[in-house]
Symmetry: none
Subunit: 528 residues, 2 copies
């Protein structure tokens, strides 16, 4: 049975309108898989007509979903064109999705002044376009653009547009606050008006220009809509779309309505952070529910109370959205976190105390282990003396020379016991060259390294205000057999930061595969 | 005559509970002056009893305000202590402010479990403390902490607390959603209940844990409160306090209520940015009304419309809050964006057609011009033949060597006419070293380059799935005289990408300053 409130995500289409976001096809597929896992009901993939990236996405997207319906977005037919020869509508059919989302104007001003249409023509465009896709077997969602502004200008015409969509056979009619300036009372009133004239199930699509996208979405639900459109982290043009990471927990925990996969709601924070990571945007620390500060208490009046009664200063339990409570100016947060992650540690031991100090010191230097569990694991296991020293790096050198063309070259000198290995690598850039040289040296000693595949490489400049002197954090994701290896390195020198993250990756792989040198009888010494 | 809605700012007290904020006395006084200039009615300065910083603030604050009342914050008297010997209440008197804000519990759970009080004792503490300050001539604002949660637990007791404050002579009773988890409907309902039992004017104090602080504040105003407490940029503990930069324009422009100095509302963005700068926090680009993206348009469809009718995709005019419209150049847009930026271009000319193709080609290679207007400008002006070739790069070389310690070094060979310049630079990393070498060479030819200051450096890995072979986009922001220079470079080689962005910065500066070589009679050749 389907949930009473359907979650409709448009991160991949409206979300990418946010300044600074640009998603590759791979990024989009990764997000699709994630949204499906979290039980989102509809995933709007893009405009099939607009660019080749979206075409490539629609080719593969269906294979990434078990529950969600992928929907293709596009406008109603152009003026003076028959539906079956309209390029956009054809492109939607070619996308071969189970559902399509068509947008059309539901405002007199928009139809006449912006599109230069007669009011009748606009209605015909809506009805015929919906009908065309419906006749081709698609589930059709009609986005009534500028609906709330349209109601203020000319209520009866705005409602006529909804009726045209219903006559065309729309499965859903979504009321859009396109400019994001409506107040919750207006939303409630006009949703009521819409319910009086159509029987098709309704949805809401809100923007945050007045800071009210979440409130407007919830007000629409109270007034009777059963689909909420929005984006992860509220990404979107101008001030963003309605934030599904805020709306979803409000629907479930506050309004007691079913939506999405509620078991997964308890991992909401991971969803938010992963999408931010893919979009390469810094997460908002103050975001409701999922922000780093959402359950963070500064030392003072609140802390004592929260320790005794969490509900004293928390509106829900952090675990309900995959968060943990943090208390600042206190070692408790770090310690309990560590103990949570490494349950074999003895809580009272000196090692744990030292570890907390080490982690704090590394974090102060710019390290962040949340997205680098392999580096974290190495750090802990090394401090416990569990990780041998597999090799020493005597020297590395990387250079880029531009002279007619650009050449990147690197050399490394690796020592294992009595043996040393000097190797050179070439690459598209200096990090690629370093990686090549390191692998070339190491596979002679540890053939297992051949199974390590580099998958993703990210760079974040911390405190860029020092210009090219800035501190840089490099994050590397690799795969080794069935395991994902995620490591981090920090330095003012981008090549050194990359080198540190690379070293962690190979050391982690050597450790989990219990590697021993293939080249001599050398006994590895412990790390501590 | 005072405004029907009083704006009460607690940035200096509740705002500083945000993780990462720490304000000096000077900072606080600067913000006070600003808030007064913008017509805020009350400015909560801090806890006079809590620390010497706040004591110093209260000594001077009165001199910084013409309109606003400074208020001192503190709790009701302790249990079992007479009001006139209570340290906190004494400290409030010593602050010598015209107003005081006292907080007390209006929830059975909070009074009995957290403070361990009997219900009667809690009521007595509220009434006596308010009365004490009132008798000393202060205007008294009573903050009913946990009011909305309290109403859900035991409505009649929550209302009894308000009556106690009224009996004590409170001038204002402020209803607090301390944990930030209430919904607008609950706020509306319980404000109504409060109005039934007290005649004192009411206020609202909302937190944003459910993403509804703004909506809850506006709902309370609709239900009859006449004071709104909040902070600039929504700073505050956890997910923050209600954001006055969002509430104020909503009150005035949407709800048509008078509040603050409305002439100054047209400079709201300056208020937000200045406070962010003083607090040393990066402004939120997506913030409603004041964010950098709030009136930024990216979609091609929208851009054409906005050029003709700004109201097509803008809920208010940017000037109403001290903003300007921005149009981004991006893959989703095209001709209309370009024409908006370069209004001297002839829309129908071949050049424009070619330019659109060039931009698309560059974007397909990973370039993104929306945050690199200087690179965009160079591209356009070069294609029009307006930019001379200031110098040629014969060769550059950058290297990083790790051998005991890590060293970064770079060399460049620059040619201008018959002359060549070979220079070397050192740095924390290879980009820093390249920058140093390039500057050293160029300032000999073009001394104006000395005025170029690098301010920010960002790296984005595009499609990191190629691992260390990934395409990299580098973005550099510099300052030159009063102008911000923003450029971009793309390559699979991070040093080459950085180099390209650096070259654009210096070329842009040479171009806007009409530079000529200082070293010889060399005639610069055109770029096309």
């Amino acid at each position: 049975m389907s949930n009473p409130i359907q979650l409709y995500d448009t991160t991949l289409r409206d979300g990418t309108q946010r300044r600074g976001i640009s998603l590759s096809v791979e990024d989009k597929l990764q997000i699709t898989k994630l949204l499906d896992e979290f039980g989102f009901d509809y995933i709007e993939g893009g405009w099939p007509a607009s660019n080749p990236k979206d075409t490539a996405f629609f080719k593969s997207a269906g294979r990434y979903v078990k529950h969600a319906k992928i929907t293709a977005f596009g406008s109603t037919r152009r003026r003076g064109v028959f539906v079956d020869s309209d390029v956009n509508l054809r492109a939607i059919l070619d996308a071969e999705c189970p559902a399509a989302t068509l947008f059309g104007k539901s405002s007199v001003f928009q139809a006449t002044k912006i599109l230069g249409l007669s009011l009748e023509e606009n209605l015909a465009m809506v009805e015929e376009s919906v009908q065309f896709l419906r006749n081709h077997g698609l589930e059709v969602i009609f986005d009534a653009e500028h609906f709330f502004d349209g109601c203020q200008e000319d209520l009866s015409y705005a409602l006529d547009v909804l009726k045209a969509a219903e006559n065309g056979g729309a499965d859903w009619i979504v009321l859009c606050d396109t400019n994001g300036g409506s107040l919750p009372d207006q939303v409630r009133e006009f949703v009521g008006q819409a319910r009086n004239v159509v029987t098709v199930p309704l949805g809401i699509h809100a923007h945050n220009d007045g800071g009210l996208a979440v409130a407007n979405s919830l007000a629409a639900v109270q007034a009777g809509v059963s689909m909420v459109q929005g984006t992860i982290n509220g990404y979107g043009e101008r001030c963003g779309n309605a934030n599904l990471c805020t709306i979803w927990p409000n629907l479930v925990y506050k309004m007691k309505l079913s939506a999405g996969n509620e078991a997964m709601l308890r991992e909401l924070t991971r969803l938010s952070r992963t999408v931010a990571e893919i979009a390469n945007l810094i997460p908002d620390d103050s975001a409701p529910f999922v922000g780093d500060n959402a359950f963070t208490h500064k030392a003072g009046v609140h802390v004592g109370a929260v320790r005794k009664y969490p509900e004293a200063y928390e509106h829900i339990r952090p675990e309900q959205v995959g968060q943990t409570r943090r208390i600042l100016v206190s070692e408790l947060a770090g310690r309990s976190n560590l103990l949570y992650h490494f349950q074999n540690l003895d809580a009272s031991s000196e090692t744990v105390k030292e570890l907390v100090q080490t982690v704090k010191r590394m974090e102060a230097r710019g390290y962040q282990y949340e997205d680098a569990p392999s580096s974290m694991k190495l750090l802990v296991e090394r401090s416990l003396g569990h990780v041998p020293v597999y090799f020493d790096v005597d020297r590395f050198h990387a250079s880029v020379t531009h002279d007619q063309r650009t050449i990147a070259e690197a050399t490394v000198r690796i020592v294992v016991g009595e043996d040393h290995f000097v190797e050179v690598g070439e690459g598209d850039g200096p990090v690629h060259a370093l990686d090549a040289a390191l692998r070339r040296a190491l596979t002679q000693i540890y053939p297992v390294i051949e199974g390590l595949r580099l998958k993703d490489y990210k760079v974040r400049v911390l405190d860029g205000r020092d210009g090219t002197r800035a501190l840089v954090r490099v994050w590397i994701r690799s795969e080794f057999r069935d395991e994902t290896v995620q490591t981090v390195g920090v330095s003012r020198n981008i090549l050194e930061a990359s080198w540190l993250a690379l070293l962690d990756s190979v050391n982690y792989v050597l450790w989990i595969s219990h590697a021993v040198p293939a080249i001599n009888e050398h006994q590895l010494r412990p790390s501590k």
